[in-house]
Symmetry: C2
Subunit: 328 residues, 2 copies
């Protein structure tokens, strides 16, 4: 949910009975500090934050040049100057982490890899509950052995980017229905289910499958508090079960989103690694969001996105809790 | 489960409290008659049968020749003569169907497409309950509109071949956790969940997600009654959550199985369509099963295969029912 979790969304989830998580993976340290302050001004409920353990990509100058040439006509179509390689493709993780540590939030979650032991110890010394993210049993075991307090198990249904750090992406595409029982059997820490959790019945099902809790994503994308643009929300309203696909075209890392023109025209070949491609397409995506051109927006969404309700976050939260309570 | 459902397995499922289904898609009419008679000799419980609505492939003689050349070294490795194109690549559906109709079984299930209306009417006239198979909402709706009495919703977790007839295969790879609620909301007929149902807790979860029942596959593969070879069973005993992949290499149609040498060496390019490729690899697979060479066997298995128990079918059935009853 990096890029679309606003302080208003995080606060509303907390007020609604959940634990809001600020998706800060792509935010500069100063923006992280500001978002935490804004969220604290909106709620006294606890909330957490998520960062990316991003690998350092090998930059291939010729490949980047080919991609810039491919992107140029789309930039022109949106009235943008030709695309360029930015000085930095992603925020500095050490600086992001220091901003987070300073804020002493009660929950820290990370994805795309393993947090180093020194930083994990620093979080634990401050009493922070640390959650890792796994897309298969092997990753969940690594996170449990590292000393995480809980692990998110992301089914292949999940929208956006998944953890996918210990096995090749294609081998870790496991449906949540098969993944949860196997992860729950493999680790002793609590397992949090992620991947198209859209209803109270699904929450109850996830608990039966071995989860101790669930993480919402697509269920919140259509809320007014979410930072999804009107074009993104309009696309969500048209979603079907078969509307998503996994693509590297927007970010250089496999991510699930609603199929659109950009994904189909750029294809999957000759894409610079994450976060290079993500940086190259950032101006294009921002302009497309602003101009209402969903065909160029990375419309991250899970396979359950068709079940997303365009209602306030408070209504989503109370509906899920009521549906769950009625079953249990 | 075509190819590995024996009369003993079908009978044991029925005796255990389930409804056994004979996977007869690749059986000649005479073999169908024989298997039905054998099953009837083993049990007085009701059972059903499954056939394939197989598309007629376009044969590409040059492509077939290239594949025969690729397969020749593997045949030699197994001591077989060079591979050949058989006179027929699959049994005649009309003759298979007539054998089934004649047998007046209480349940008929089909996959890979839509049964024609005349045959559906013939089954209904004999009081047969007809089940179609869907891998997405669009397919489930087509099956409901056709007049099926129930629909199997196959998650992407499912082992072997999936229905995949109305949308391109890659678009219909929907995890069961996301698929079931959407199929259940879209059709009024009962929905049967398939895709790595391995435990009573998963059965209960499937019902919460919208199913009226479940279909077992991988849960029965390791039983002594199942026709899986010792090599196949040994491979299953080593399965992990990431051990399967979808491949066209064995049959020409995407199917999920345990990753092995054949899949990896043949790859996914330049494969003749189903059922041509299936016929070309049939002698190789049969010899590999007989010789205990799992690296050349199509080890169809779902993403939950690691949870399969090598115990008699009666034990699997009673365990699932006890686990389910303890929860409900």
């Amino acid at each position: 949910m990096a890029g679309v979790t606003t302080p208003a969304l995080v606060a509303a989830v907390g007020e609604g009975g959940g634990l809001g998580l600020l998706g800060a993976g792509m935010m500069q340290p100063s923006a992280i500090e500001q978002a935490i302050a804004q969220t604290r001004a909106l709620t006294r409920k606890p909330f957490g934050i998520n960062l990316f353990i991003a690998p350092q990509p090998q930059a291939d100058a010729a490949q980047v040049a080919r991609m810039l040439a491919k992107l140029a006509p789309y930039c022109a179509e949106l009235g943008l100057p030709p695309p360029e390689v930015p000085a930095r493709c992603a925020p500095d993780f050490a600086a992001q982490f220091d901003a987070v540590l300073e804020a002493r939030l009660p929950v820290f979650s990370f994805t795309f890899g393993l947090l180093d032991r020194a930083r994990l110890a620093a979080l634990h010394a401050r009493g922070t509950f640390v959650i890792g993210t796994a897309s298969c049993v092997a990753e969940a075991k690594l996170l449990a052995e590292l000393g995480c307090d809980a692990v998110v198990a992301q089914g292949a249904e999940t929208g956006g980017h998944r953890a996918s750090f210990a096995v090749p992406f294609d081998e870790g595409q496991i449906g949540l229905f098969a993944l949860l029982p196997q992860v729950a059997a493999a680790v002793e820490i609590p397992v949090i289910a992620a991947g198209s959790v859209m209803s109270g019945a699904q929450i109850a099902a996830a608990l039966l499958l071995g989860a101790s809790g669930v993480q919402l994503g697509s269920a919140l994308l259509a809320t007014p508090e979410c930072g999804t643009s009107p074009a993104y929300k309009a696309a969500l309203a048209q979603a079907t079960d078969t509307a998503t696909q996994v693509t590297r075209s927007f970010s250089g890392r496999p991510a699930r989103g609603l199929r659109n023109r950009f994904m189909q025209e750029i294809g999957e070949a000759d894409i610079p690694d994450y976060p290079i491609q993500n940086a190259l397409t950032a101006p294009l995506r921002a302009a497309a969001n602003a101009q209402g051109r969903a065909e160029f927006v990375s419309l991250w969404a899970g396979q359950g996105a068709a079940l997303a309700c365009a209602e306030p976050t408070a209504a989503v939260m109370s509906r899920l809790i009521e549906e769950f309570d009625a079953l249990v």
